[in-house]
């Protein structure tokens, strides 16, 4: 990849965010290029979600600038309609909507007709391996936790956004479910060439999924940057060294539940 040619999708420039006198994010600068999968890695409370909220445009930086596709996501909130979507740690499905209707939520907001909504939603459910009329029509309470999270990811992808943001989307699932979902998701995002920022507090998840890892130490300050390639991912010795270096930069490995 030639960095010169790639388009910048996200740019943070010396961003601070305070809550009262308490800094959650300090002097954070980074770029994310088109088609990249970037992990923001840090301990709970490091300020990852705060950084993500600023990229989403729901939180204003105290200082510095945030740009998404060249726009200010906070001031130009509506202009980014359909350009980015988010999946969270918990599935946040609307309980009164069947699986496909949840997936179609973004399309409905963007004004697509019912027919398109339904066919696209079903297509995206298929992409996250939920198939069959009876599953597509299930309500959230009739689905397992893993399936709900799959629906939630399909909902984020269904509007065909340029940018997908994930805040600990795999952290609340059991080991096996989480692993299957992580590899399915990474494969899908790579195939589609989507730009993706994923937040995690788990070093192994970041090493497994991301092209680039930004390690944040509280309050969110860039402590280390690691580039991951397919070759490196296959190299056990490299992974081990990096794991140790990242843990040191984070200020110790974090095994608590994410927040």
């Amino acid at each position: 990849m030639t960095a010169v040619e790639a388009r910048t999708v996200i740019e943070l420039d010396r961003v601070d965010r305070y809550f009262g006198a308490h800094p959650a994010v300090l002097d954070l600068s980074f770029r994310v290029m088109e088609g990249e999968i970037v992990a923001l890695l840090g301990r709970t409370g490091a300020g990852k979600s705060t950084a993500l909220h600023m990229i989403m445009g729901v939180l204003e930086p105290t200082r510095g600038t945030v740009r998404v596709e060249g726009l200010d996501p906070y001031a130009q909130f509506k202009e980014l309609r359909g350009r980015l979507s988010v999946s969270f740690q918990n599935d946040r499905l609307l309980p009164w909507r069947a699986a496909w209707e949840n997936v179609a939520l973004g399309l409905e907001i963007l004004g697509f007709d019912k027919e398109t909504q339904r066919s696209r939603a079903i297509e995206w459910l298929e992409n996250v391996k939920i198939v069959g009329e009876e599953n597509v029509r299930k309500y959230p309470h009739e689905l397992s936790g893993g399936m709900r999270q799959r629906v939630s990811l399909a909902r984020a992808l269904c509007v065909d956004p340029a940018l997908v943001l994930l805040d600990e989307s795999f952290s609340q699932l059991d080991h096996v479910t989480s692993k299957a979902l992580r590899s399915d998701f990474t494969e899908l995002v790579r195939r589609l060439g989507k730009t993706c920022v994923l937040i995690t507090h788990r070093i192994d998840d970041a090493l497994e999924m991301a092209d680039r890892i930004l390690v944040l130490a509280a309050p969110a300050k860039l402590a280390l940057e690691v580039r991951v390639t397919a070759d490196r991912r296959a190299d056990a010795a490299w992974l081990e060294t990096q794991h140790a270096a990242i843990a040191a930069a984070m200020g110790g490995e974090d095994e608590t539940e994410a927040a």
């Binding site: 939520l105 689905l143 479910t177």
Partner: protein, 274 residues
């Protein structure tokens, strides 16, 4: 790809609830109801043998009276049902809107809440008397009484519903950058449906009785008014006949609400398990 369904998908497939279960309950309940109705009818009949007709008329006499009502006075039944349904529908819409405004427009909340709480404290009988002073038309009187009593119930319950709306859901809908109207239609409206239905379910019986009472006190048409007339004429079989019809109307509207609840809340685990 031959095996697209993974174990997780398969694990999500639960067997459908046995379809027979509900019908068995229905049969059992129906049987019990018939037994109780027969016992009441028998007790009334036995009493009528020893009591004068203005204390307790016989079952046959009462049955005759009901048939007469259905043949000649049915317009009063229709009137009462329409008054009830119209007032409930109006209160539902207005009360829910007030509840939504209370929940969304934060500065308005304490004021509207105080108003609603004070209104709920006013006895129904006072509203009935006010209505007689304030309104000449009979429809206005009944409508006012019902609306003023029912609106606070909807407002308070829907307000509670709005407060219970999770910020997680608001945030996820907001990620798609909807218009305000879309937030209302896609998030708030479906979210308050259960609260509106629960409120309707809990007030509908009360509202039906209140309609009859309001008619008795303030107007001369409708089931309540005819019941009052029968009482004036010392027509005990008339009073009992109208009472039985009121019970039937009451159960009928409750059944309609229960049906609506089942249809509209099929996404809720609580309802589908019942």
């Amino acid at each position: 790809m031959s095996t697209r369904i993974d174990p997780e998908t398969a694990a999500g497939l639960e067997p459908p609830a046995p379809a027979g279960a509900e019908r068995n309950y229905f049969k059992r309940d129906l049987f019990a109801s018939i037994v109780i109705i027969a016992l009441i009818a028998f007790a009334m009949e036995a009493w009528s043998w020893v009591a004068p007709v203005y204390i307790m008329p016989s079952v046959v006499l009462t049955g005759d009276e009901i048939l007469t009502i259905l043949g000649e006075d049915y317009i009063h039944i229709v009137t009462t049902i329409l008054r009830l349904l119209f007032a409930v529908a109006f209160s539902l819409v207005v009360g829910s809107l007030i509840g939504v405004v209370m929940g969304i427009v934060r500065p308005a909340e304490p004021f509207i809440k105080a108003l609603v709480v004070i209104f709920t404290g006013v006895p129904a009988l006072s509203w009935m008397l006010f209505a007689i002073f304030w309104f000449r038309g009979t429809e206005e009187r009944v409508f006012f009484i019902l609306a003023v009593i029912l609106i606070p119930f909807y407002a308070l319950n829907v307000y509670d519903g709005i407060k219970a709306l999770s910020t997680d859901l608001i945030e996820v809908v907001e990620t798609f950058r909807p218009s305000r109207w879309q937030v209302f239609r896609l998030l708030i409206l479906p979210h308050i449906v259960p609260y509106v239905l629960m409120t309707t379910k809990s007030i509908i019986g009360y509202a039906a009785r209140m309609t009859a009472f309001a008619e008795l006190v303030s107007v001369n048409t409708g089931m309540g008014a005819r019941m009052g007339l029968a009482q004036d004429e010392l027509n005990m079989q008339g009073v009992i006949g109208w009472t039985i019809l009121l019970v039937i109307v009451n159960l009928g509207v409750q059944a309609i609400v229960a049906w609506a609840e089942k249809r509209l809340l099929k996404w809720r685990p609580e309802v589908s398990v019942r």
